[in-house]
């Protein structure tokens, strides 16, 4: 029983949130308690499936799941005619890392939402959409099929846009949602076009199969641009970051935290395309694309933080910081990609840089999620996000203040929090690649710290204000949601080496092991 359950984990990972999403309106008819119970149960089971699957991948290597085949782990069953015609989920260590991020965040966010949205109407649709967004994200990071990736990308985009616009808020939220939906749809159509171009040439949709047949002609390069640009846009890299502040600001805070995770699923897609699909060591100009990521990353880091400093709206400020932090991930992985053809440099600092970049993905999801949730907690009690009007909340909301401090110190890269662990890996390796970029990264960190000191000061410090006299601490479920993320921030900061050895190093190896990814499907090296 347990064995067959474990065998079907990749399918359950998507099936559980999908079924929960469509059961919620039914449970909602039975009342608020039933719906809340179902939300909790669905989120807990999804996380459980995600963590169990990730544990399996980290212990035994890549997990395959062939939908509709007699034996789910046989990549090419007898009746397939020697080619993988079925949809295959292929979760390697990199995918497993993303599954861990999505599992932990979605559990924390579901808990938080139960209290934060308790006074709102239309909860059936809200939670249905929330679980659809989780489905989309989990599907994107575990699928081994190009078209399937497109479908999950669209599921997450549509659910995300609907959630951003869900609380209409005089039209502003709809404006943010419309922007997000428009860009996502154009981006997804470009991805679909690229998939069509690849399918026309190679008669396959399976990523490993297409990768093994890729000839790097001019059509393939067009497809690469059509794939890479929308995904870079969806992860919010400068100069395609313009949607992030509007969308992140207008969405409900719990949803913003989830959108951060969904944008990182796009980042995963970008890495998968560059490394696995196009990453042929002999025929591919690594340095060019490495520098492409490095420049994108350095620009994002610097432009993001300079745009963040003057913001008055706390969520808008955090949104620009999200752009800035994405820059670190691109910088780390980009440096690794740029020196990929040079085995000596790769071993000396390239892999460390990639490890820093990937570690920063999970760290960022946790502390930035935490920060958005604290901003939501403040908004929940005070009804404003304007930093000039907030103040003196430290007395009334001690827990929120502590969580905010943890998140702020982590994002600024102060030990002993997780942001420091990954930034240190990035600094020391990027310094050996280019001292200028390392110094730029440190300057961005200092500016980030300055910016968050200001926010901390204007939200929590000072005497209690008369207009916030009735403000109390937020309800327990919201604190619990924030506590899950805060616990990870502290844990990964105290024992970073455990995380690096167990999760990040395998993920880096999975990222660069193109032959291994292909062999998992087609067999043989």
């Amino acid at each position: 029983m347990m064995d067959s359950l474990a065998l079907h984990l990749p399918a359950l990972l998507v099936a559980i949130p999908l079924f929960t999403a469509f059961l919620i309106p039914l449970a909602g008819r039975a009342g608020d308690t039933a719906r809340s119970a179902l939300v909790l149960l669905g989120a807990a089971l999804t996380s459980l499936a995600g963590l169990a699957l990730a544990a399996r991948v980290f212990a035994r290597g890549t997990v395959l799941y062939v939908f509709g085949a007699a034996a789910p782990h046989a990549a090419i069953p007898m009746d397939s005619g020697g080619i993988p015609i079925r949809i295959i989920f292929q979760v390697d260590a990199l995918g497993a890392l993303m599954v861990v991020i999505a599992s932990l965040s979605s559990l924390a966010i579901a808990l938080y939402s139960l209290a934060a949205e308790s006074r709102q109407s239309g909860k059936d649709g809200f939670y249905s959409m929330l679980f659809l967004l989780v489905t989309g994200v989990l599907g994107m990071v575990s699928t081994g099929d190009l078209f399937n990736f497109f479908v999950f990308l669209e599921i997450s985009s549509l659910a995300g846009a609907a959630l951003v616009a869900y609380r209409i808020d005089k039209g502003e939220a709809v404006e943010g949602g419309l922007k997000y939906a428009l860009l996502s749809t154009v981006g997804a159509l470009s991805v679909l076009m690229a998939i069509g171009i690849l399918f026309a040439q190679y008669n396959a949709l399976n990523i490993a199969t297409v990768a093994s047949r890729l000839r790097f002609g001019s059509l393939d390069m067009i497809a690469l641009v059509l794939l890479a640009v929308p995904l870079a846009m969806k992860c919010g890299a400068v100069p395609m970051h313009f949607w992030t502040p509007d969308t992140y600001t207008t969405a409900p805070s719990s949803i913003t935290a989830l959108l951060v995770v969904s944008s990182q699923a796009s980042l995963y897609g970008l890495f998968r395309i560059l490394f696995t699909l196009y990453g042929d060591l002999l025929r591919f100009n690594w340095a060019v694309f490495g520098w492409f990521l490095v420049i994108l990353g350095a620009l994002s880091a610097f432009v993001g933080v300079t745009m963040a400093i003057p913001q008055k709206d706390v969520k808008r400020l955090m949104a620009y910081h999200a752009v800035s932090q994405t820059g670190y991930m691109l910088l780390g992985v980009g440096v690794g990609l740029a020196v990929f053809a040079d085995a000596g440099a790769l071993a000396a600092y390239g892999k460390t840089a990639m490890a820093g970049g990937l570690f920063h993905i999970i760290n960022h999801a946790m502390y930035k999620g935490l920060l958005f949730l604290t901003a939501g907690a403040v908004f929940y009690r005070t009804g404003t996000r304007n930093l000039n009007r907030l103040g003196g909340l430290g007395h009334a909301m001690p827990w929120t203040m502590v969580f905010f401090m943890i998140g702020a110190l982590a994002i600024a890269g102060i030990p002993p929090f997780n942001g420091f662990a990954s930034k240190l890996l990035i600094y020391e390796s990027v310094f050996r690649f280019s001292p200028f970029l390392a110094i730029l990264a440190m300057v961005v960190s200092i500016l980030t710290l300055a910016s968050f000191v200001k926010v901390f000061h204007s939200m929590f410090m000072g005497p209690p204000r008369a207009e916030f006299a009735g403000v109390r601490e937020v309800p327990a479920p919201m604190i619990a949601g924030m506590a899950i993320l805060a616990a990870f921030v502290i844990l990964a900061g105290l024992v970073p080496q455990v995380f690096v050895d167990r999760m990040i190093a395998p993920a880096v190896n999975a990222l660069v092991d193109r032959a291994g990814y292909i062999a998992a499907i087609l067999g043989g090296h």
Partner: protein
């Protein structure tokens, strides 16, 4: 020559549709017209998918009364159906966004839909 031209026609149509769609998205100020452009773009991509799946004298794999054993796996046709369904959902959602924006702002001119700035 003429057959080759005929076979290229779908792809030329795709190119024309894509250009029209991009033109509408970039240069139209009316939100509804921009959404029409988006819809055109969806159609262009769908047509592209169907066009690459065309095989001359190909037979769909329906196993009753097949004239020959060679059949075409209708993968792209399946993809197109999925893409159409997604496209309908997208259009419906975005048009409802446009309706809400018209109700709240009193306009669908994107130059006036600018509450979020900075």
């Amino acid at each position: 020559m003429i057959t080759r031209l005929l076979l290229a026609m779908p792809f030329l149509t795709v190119a024309v549709l894509l250009l029209l769609a991009l033109g509408a998205l970039l240069f139209k100020r009316n939100l509804i017209k921009m959404l029409m452009g988006l819809s055109l773009m969806e159609s262009a991509v769908n047509l592209f998918l169907v066009a690459i799946g065309y095989r001359q004298d190909g037979v769909a794999p329906i196993f009753t009364n097949v004239p020959q054993t060679l059949m075409v796996l209708p993968t792209v046709q399946a993809l197109t159906l999925t893409a159409i369904v997604i496209g309908v959902a997208t259009s419906a959602m975005m048009l409802s966004f446009a309706m809400v924006i018209y109700k709240k702002y009193g306009t669908v001119d994107v130059r006036n839909i600018r509450k979020l700035n900075g």
